[in-house]
C-alpha cells in the first residue's frame, strides 16, 4: 500500500509532509526548500510551478497565476472574488454556472485545474523523496471553506492524480501537529498569520473529534503588508536624509525590498539590525549616495503596530461567535511565518493569557498535521509499534572500578552492541563481567544487574587475550550478555529480565544523582584512568628494562628505576593528585627515552649485520622497517 502524503495547499505557499518511521517529516521541494510558492506560470505549452514561476512573474504577469485559492469554488460575482481580482494581474472571468475561472491566452482554467498543477508538483516532489509512487493525499483547507470550496479542492487533487483521502481544516491540522487531540476535551484557538491572509479559528475537541466553533480573519493581511511597511519607512527615511526619492529607481527599490525582508527576519532574533546598501543611487551632483539605517525591534513594532492590532478584532469576533471568552481557551496554536515575530507572539499571549504552542515550524505545522492525519488513515499512526528505549545506560565494570558503557540510554530497542576487552594482568585466566545500569562513572555507584565469570582463558601477557562482550536487548527488554574468548572460543552468558522496566521515579532518581555527582565522578574516573595509564607505563618500562637494561649506562638505568619506583608508589596511593601522577608518567617516559635510544642502536646493529650478510650473498633486501605491526585497537581493560 502506498504512502499517503499530507499537503498544505496555501494561498501564498504550499508544503508537503509524510509519516516516516512513526513521525512526520517535511518533504523538501526539488529546489531544496521546505515550502514552495503556490504560483503557476504558463509559457507556451510549458507549465512552471513554485519558485521558478515566481522568478518569471514580472515577465509573464498575465500568464502567471498566484493566490488562486482565493477563487476556489467561488462565483465571479462573489464580493470576495471582486476584491481578490484587484490584487492579481491575470484575467479572471466567468465560467460554468457563474464560477470564477482564470483566463490564459483565451483558454479558461478552473481554479481547481490551476491548483492541480500545484498539487502535481507536490506529488512529484514526494515521489522523488520517497522513491515510490504516491497516489493518495490528505489536503488541508481553511476552516471557513464551504462545501463547494472543499469539493473544488478535492477535484484539484483528483485532477493531479491523487485520491483525496480526506479534506482537513488547517487549524485542525495545526492542532494535530501538536498532538492536542490526545489531551482530552479542550478548546483551542489557532492564530494563523501567513504571507497574505490572516485566520483565527476556535476549535473544540472531545474524544479525538474536532469541531470548529467559529472562524474569522482578514483575507488581506499578512507578511507582505509587514514588508511594505518597512519598505515605506526606508524610502521615507532616505528621502528625509538625502532628499532623494528612491521609488522611481526600480534597481534601488529591488535592493530595498530584499533588505526589508532580511531586516524583518533578523529582528525576530535580535533587538536591532543594520540596513546597509552602499551606492544605492547618485546625488544631483553625481556623488554616490549610501543607504545606512538602523532598524530596531521597537521601531519595527511601531511601524507594524496597526497591522498587528488589525488581527485582534477578528479574534474578538471569533470568540464572541463561539460564545466564549479569552480565558476559556485551553490551548493556543501559532501558524504562519509572521507568528515568528516576538511582538505577535506577545500580543497573542497577552490576549489569551497563556503561552502559545510554537515548537513546530509555523510554516510547516499545517502540512505536518496533514501528514499525521494521513498516518492515522493509512494505519501508520494507530498501529505504530511503540518501540521502547533503554531508560538508563548499560555497561560493564572495567579496570579500576570504572563503568564502561556499551548501550547508551535512550537507545531504541531491540538493539545489540559488542566490544572487545582484554585482561589486566599477565596470565590472567578468568575475567569477571559485572553488568551495570546507571549514569554514574564509577561501577560501584551504578546498579549491578548481575555478574558472571568467564574462565578458561589461555594464559597470556596482559592485553593479549581478546574477550568480546555482547549486550543484546530484545524487544521485551530482556538483556542477554555474552562474553566470549576469541582464542579458545569459550563463552559464558547471562540473561537479565526487567532491564528496561524501571519505574519513572527510579530512572529520574538515578539520572538526578548522576547529574549531581557528574563533576566528582568525572574527576574520580580521570584519576583512575591516569592510574591505569601509570601502571601500564610502569609495566611496559619494566619489560623494556629487563630486555635492554644491560645496554644502558648505570646512571641512566638508576634514574629510570628510581622514576619507575616513584611512579608505582604514586599509582598505588589512594589520595594521589591526578596532576602529580601525570607528571610522574611524563618524567618516567622522558627518562625512559634512553631505553629507546639503546633499542634503536641494538636494532641498527642487528640490521647492519643482516644487510652485510645479504650483500655478501649478493641479494637485495627491501626495507621493511616502516611496516609496523597492526596496532591493537582496543584499550586494555579488565
Amino acid at each position: 500500500m502506498s504512502k499517503i502524503i499530507g499537503i498544505d495547499l496555501g494561498t501564498t505557499n504550499s508544503a508537503v509532509a509524510v509519516m516516516q518511521g512513526g513521525s512526520p517529516v517535511i518533504i523538501p521541494t526539488s529546489e531544496g526548500r521546505n515550502t514552495f510558492p503556490s504560483i503557476v506560470g504558463f509559457k507556451g505549452s510549458d507549465v512552471i510551478v513554485g519558485d521558478p514561476a515566481k522568478r518569471q512573474m514580472v515577465l509573464n504577469a498575465k500568464k502567471t497565476v498566484n493566490s488562486v485559492k482565493r477563487f476556489m469554488g467561488r462565483k465571479l460575482n462573489d464580493s470576495s472574488v471582486k476584491q481578490a481580482i484587484k490584487h492579481v494581474s491575470y484575467e479572471v472571468t466567468e465560467g460554468k454556472d457563474g464560477m470564477a475561472v482564470v483566463s490564459i491566452d483565451g483558454k479558461k482554467y478552473t481554479p481547481q485545474e490551476i491548483s492541480a498543477k500545484i498539487l502535481a508538483k507536490a506529488k512529484a516532489d514526494a515521489e522523488s523523496f520517497l522513491g515510490e509512487k504516491v497516489d493518495r493525499a490528505v489536503i488541508t483547507v481553511p476552516a471557513y471553506f464551504n462545501d463547494a470550496q472543499r469539493q473544488a479542492t478535492k477535484q484539484a487533487g483528483e485532477i493531479a492524480g491523487l485520491k483525496v483521502e480526506r479534506i482537513v481544516n488547517e487549524p485542525t491540522a495545526a492542532a494535530l501537529a501538536y498532538g492536542l487531540d490526545k489531551k482530552g476535551s479542550q478548546t483551542i484557538a489557532v492564530y494563523d498569520l501567513g504571507g497574505g491572509t490572516f485566520d483565527i479559528s476556535i476549535l473544540e475537541i472531545g474524544d479525538g473529534v474536532f469541531e470548529v466553533k467559529s472562524t474569522n480573519g482578514d483575507t488581506f493581511l499578512g507578511g507582505d503588508d509587514f514588508d511594505s511597511a518597512i519598505i515605506e519607512w526606508i524610502v521615507s527615511e532616505f528621502k528625509k536624509e538625502q532628499g532623494k526619492d528612491l521609488t522611481k529607481d526600480p534597481q534601488a527599490m529591488q535592493r530595498i525590498k530584499d533588505s526589508a525582508e532580511k531586516a524583518k527576519i533578523e529582528l525576530s532574533a535580535s533587538a536591532s539590525t543594520e540596513i546597509n546598501q552602499p551606492f544605492i543611487t547618485q546625488g544631483d551632483d553625481g556623488q554616490a549616495l549610501h543607504l545606512t539605517l538602523t532598524l530596531t525591534r521597537a521601531k519595527l513594532e511601531e511601524l507594524v503596530d496597526d497591522l498587528i492590532k488589525k488581527s485582534i478584532e477578528p479574534v474578538k469576533k471569533a470568540l464572541k461567535d463561539a460564545k466564549l471568552e479569552a480565558k476559556d481557551i485551553n490551548e493556543v496554536v501559532l501558524v504562519g511565518g509572521m507568528t515568528r515575530m516576538p511582538k505577535v507572539q506577545k500580543m497573542v499571549e497577552e490576549f489569551f493569557g497563556k503561552e502559545p504552542h510554537k515548537g513546530v515550524n509555523p510554516d510547516e505545522v499545517v502540512a505536518i498535521g496533514a501528514a499525521v492525519q494521513a498516518g492515522v488513515i493509512s494505519g501508520d499512526v494507530n498501529d505504530v509499534v511503540l518501540l521502547d528505549v533503554t531508560p538508563l545506560t548499560l555497561g560493564i565494570e572495567t579496570l579500576g572500578g570504572i563503568r564502561t558503557p556499551l548501550i547508551d540510554r535512550n537507545t531504541t530497542i531491540p538493539t545489540s552492541k559488542s566490544q572487545v576487552f582484554s585482561t589486566a594482568a599477565d596470565n590472567q585466566t578468568q575475567v569477571e563481567i559485572n553488568v551495570l545500569q546507571g549514569e554514574r562513572e564509577m561501577a560501584i555507584d551504578n546498579k549491578s544487574l548481575g555478574r558472571f565469570i568467564l574462565d578458561g582463558i589461555p594464559a597470556a601477557m596482559r592485553g593479549v587475550p581478546q574477550i568480546e562482550v555482547t549486550f543484546d536487548i530484545d524487544s521485551n527488554g530482556i538483556l542477554h550478555v555474552t562474553a566470549k574468548d576469541k582464542t579458545s572460543g569459550k563463552e559464558q552468558k547471562i540473561t537479565i529480565a526487567n532491564s528496561t522496566n524501571l519505574s519513572e521515579e527510579e530512572v529520574e532518581k538515578m539520572k538526578a544523582e548522576a547529574e549531581k555527582f557528574a563533576e566528582a565522578d568525572k574527576a574520580k574516573k580521570e584519576l583512575i584512568e591516569s592510574k591505569n595509564k601509570a601502571n601500564s607505563v610502569a609495566f611496559e618500562m619494566e619489560k623494556q628494562l629487563k630486555e635492554y637494561g644491560e645496554h644502558l649506562e648505570a646512571a641512566d638505568r638508576e634514574k629510570i628505576e628510581e622514576n619507575l619506583k616513584q611512579l608505582k608508589e604514586l599509582a598505588a596511593k589512594e589520595d594521589v593528585a591526578k596532576e602529580d601522577l601525570e607528571k610522574a608518567i611524563e618524567s618516567t617516559m622522558t627518562s625512559a627515552q634512553k631505553i629507546g635510544e639503546v633499542m634503536q642502536k641494538a636494532q641498527a646493529a642487528k640490521a647492519s649485520s643482516a644487510s652485510d650478510q645479504a650483500k655478501s650473498e649478493g641479494e637485495t633486501t627491501s626495507d621493511k622497517s616502516d611496516k609496523k605491526e597492526a596496532e591493537e585497537g582496543e584499550v586494555v581493560k579488565e
Binding site: 516516516q20 518511521g21 512552471i48 521558478p52 515566481k54 522568478r55 518569471q56 512573474m57 514580472v58 515577465l59 523523496f129 520517497l130 522513491g131 526600480p250 534597481q251 529591488q254 535592493r255 530584499d258 546597509n276 546598501q277 552602499p278 551606492f279 554616490a288 498501529d383 509499534v385
Partner: protein
C-alpha cells in the same frame, strides 16, 4: 455427539489459525515497511551527507555575496586599481571553492538562473543586472535579478 464436538473444536482452531494468519500478515507487512523506511532513510542520509560535504560552504558563500557585491559597486565608483586587485583576489580564492558568477548580461532570459524584476519592452534579453547571480558547483545559490529589454 462426539463428532459435533470435534467439529466445533476444529472450527474454533481454524478460526484461531485464520486470526493468527492475519496477525502474521500484518506483522510481516509492518516489518517490511519498517525495513523499507530504514533503507530509504539510510539512502537519503547518505545522499544528504554527500550534498552536505559538497555544499558545506554554501551558507558562508551566501553570506559573503552581498558584501562582495557592494565591494564591486565601490570599485565601480571609486575606480582604483588597488581595490580592483583586491576584488580579483577575492574572486580567485572563491573560484577555488567552485563559487562562480553566472554570466547573464546580454543573455536570453533563463528561468533556471535568473529572476525578472522589471521589463522595458519585449522581455527577451537581459539589459541590466540588479543583483548578480552565483552558483556553487552546479547549484544556483543566488539567482540573478535582471531587467529585460
Amino acid at each position: 455427539m462426539k463428532n459435533k464436538q470435534t467439529e466445533k473444536v476444529i472450527s474454533e482452531e481454524q478460526q484461531k489459525i485464520q486470526e493468527l494468519q492475519l496477525l502474521l500478515a500484518a506483522s510481516l507487512e509492518r516489518e517490511k515497511r519498517a525495513l523499507a523506511d530504514y533503507q530509504n532513510l539510510q539512502r537519503r542520509s547518505q545522499e544528504e551527507r554527500r550534498v552536505l560535504i559538497r555544499m558545506a560552504n554554501k551558507d558562508l558563500c551566501q553570506a559573503l555575496l552581498q558584501p562582495l557585491e557592494h565591494l564591486s559597486l565601490a570599485a565601480k565608483n571609486i575606480q582604483d586599481r588597488g581595490l580592483d586587485m583586491v576584488i580579483e583576489q577575492f574572486w580567485k580564492e572563491l573560484a577555488n571553492f567552485s563559487l562562480q558568477e553566472i554570466p547573464v548580461l546580454g543573455q536570453k532570459f533563463d528561468l533556471q538562473t535568473m529572476e525578472v524584476v522589471d521589463k522595458k519592452d519585449k522581455g527577451e534579453k537581459v539589459i541590466e543586472v540588479v543583483r548578480k547571480g552565483y552558483q556553487l558547483h552546479d547549484e544556483v545559490i543566488q539567482h540573478a535579478q535582471v531587467i529585460l529589454d
